[in-house]
Amino acid sequence: TVRPKNEVEQKQLCAFGEYVAEILPKYIQQVQVTCFNELELLIHPDGIIPVLTFLRDHTNAQFKSLADLTAVDVPSRQYRFEIVYNLLSLRFSCRIRVKTYTDELTPVDSAVSVHKAANWYEREVWDMYGVFFANHPDLRRILTDYGFEGHPFRKDFPLSGYVEV
């Protein structure tokens, strides 16, 4: 069986992606729609707060819900970490993905001022990858042990760690 293609939804997502790219050309580097009808906005890291506030507050794009905040580690790139925000609009039943990039030492603006839900997600990204979030109210470890050194989800961290238990 093959997944049925939903051309109408694809066209609507493409149109909305072009709409957002036309309004925010300063920060949006690329817009893509995957074959599974998922809209992705690729952002410059300076534009996290403007883009997230726009998506939350604008009438045509009421993405009030932050569903997920994660990071992806691709060590071969210059900016190895890719921060991913998944937003959901309850008014229009639509999802959107916003992606930014950073390296190990550059801090990224915290999304807590836009979405309160980002608090623990950003603590997890800090703990697991080592991405520092500026203006975060309380950035400390959340999943690793108290004296743990290292950032486990990085690709150069070994599977069974450095310390024998």
Partner: protein, 116 residues
Amino acid sequence: MFMLFMQTTGLVGLAVAENPHERLRILYTKILGVLQNIPKEAAYRKYTEQIVNQRFNLVRTETDVQKLQDKLNSGHIEEVIVQAENELSLARKMIQWKPWEPLVEEPPSDQWRWPI
């Protein structure tokens, strides 16, 4: 047993708005005023003015609250008021951020390539 003449929106934390037409009129005028500070060619100004004028006309012509809600097709009138307040705060922030300027910085060429 007499029933108290009280309405609810049915939503937690949203009180019933008395005189929503007046409130919406004030908010939409404020938004249009703030949008004047944005350059005319900016796409944000164009589209937001379109939306706001559309809703403003509906608010002006339709005096019945229920029919206005149906025409706007955007949930309760209190939610429309909240949305207008959000749009106003967004317009004020947009003036500082100026997102209509050209791209800040191009990404490195391999940044968004997938598969790597």
